[in-house]
Subunit: 204 residues, 2 copies
Amino acid sequence: MSGLRARQKADRHRRIIEAAADLFREAGYEGAKIETIAAQAEVSIGTIYNYYENKGDILGAIVSMEVNEVLNAGRGVVANPPANVGDALDTLLGIYIEHSLHYLSKEMWRQAMAISTQLPDSPFGQAYTGLDRALTEQISALIARLQEIGLARGDIDGPALGELIFNNMNMMFIEFVKRDEARIAELRAAIRRQNRILVAAIAV
Amino acid sequence: MSGLRARQKADRHRRIIEAAADLFREAGYEGAKIETIAAQAEVSIGTIYNYYENKGDILGAIVSMEVNEVLNAGRGVVANPPANVGDALDTLLGIYIEHSLHYLSKEMWRQAMAISTQLPDSPFGQAYTGLDRALTEQISALIARLQEIGLARGDIDGPALGELIFNNMNMMFIEFVKRDEARIAELRAAIRRQNRILVAAIAV
DNA sequence: CACAAAAACAGAATTGACTCAATTTTAGAA
DNA sequence: TTCTAAAATTGAGTCAATTCTGTTTTTGTG
């Protein structure tokens, strides 16, 4: 039952993603033609569209892998947070940001974000919304953890705060990927400055 | 010197924008073909591209008008803010949000936002970044005003707070336009809930 | 008023994402 | 092993944004 067909399918998925990732890196998202991806993956154009609804979904598959890695890395911080609110937030958001350009270029991020708002109901659009939610929840989980430990005030609206922090970081990240010359260190510093207001309000 | 050519130019700009706005409303952004816009504006396809770099820039011109109206409306609130921090913020952000769907549909917003991150260096991409900045600064100006009046603590980092509030609202607005069934009232309520944390931290 | 240069216009040609009807491959029943 | 239905693949064709090149209009000068 797990026969040939399933194996070929998985293999073709892999070949398409690999070819696309290579070409996106080399030529950029716009520069990578479906025709070229198909050729490099040794499948036809039609097959690509059998596996992915549109070009954006191919990029989406790559972005999802990246974000899932980030979520994974974040778990460690939530389980074992630094001993004060400011550092805990900075560490978690730092992981998100530092990881972000490992596999994806700024251009790829720009495209991915654009597609996710342009086609919110496409497979990737929905997946992306889910990833955002997962990140938001991880931040909320960190806050809940800090409240448990007694590092953050218990009367704070944790979920709302998590959204606030994620939304702000995400918007800052969008502006960051829009400017090629923007540096990660500056991004982190700016976010720290903004979060300082919150940290002051919620630290015990 | 201000002769025929300049007048024709202004007239063609107007005709293109009007035709595009009509068609975007009727058929949606994707559904509106450049060919049709050109026909309705009584110019050729080539001429449209002489006036706008790409389809997105046409939408951009419409969005810019809308946001400028919103900025204008916001000035009144900054000049004469409600007598407490929570209401002042709610009133200003309320104006932004309530105005937002006057001329633009959610689909048009989705496209506009997507384009602004996809092509940050296109004329519209840059304009959009400028508009975001102007909105952020207006929020910061409101905070400064509240600090002057003595309604907000003077030791708060106003500019950073302005960014935080704008970024959060903007991200919430993006999620709002991504879901057709989302309602303005719910959006405002969610933002109020998030801002409550900030209001508690900065109100005198 | 002519006329040359500059600016604007026009629309056919190009390009690249995506579709679709025909063909090939696989699964599994007889 | 043979056969048939279902699943998957293929690539030529479609569609719409954008480009490009030749033509027309405007401007300012002699």
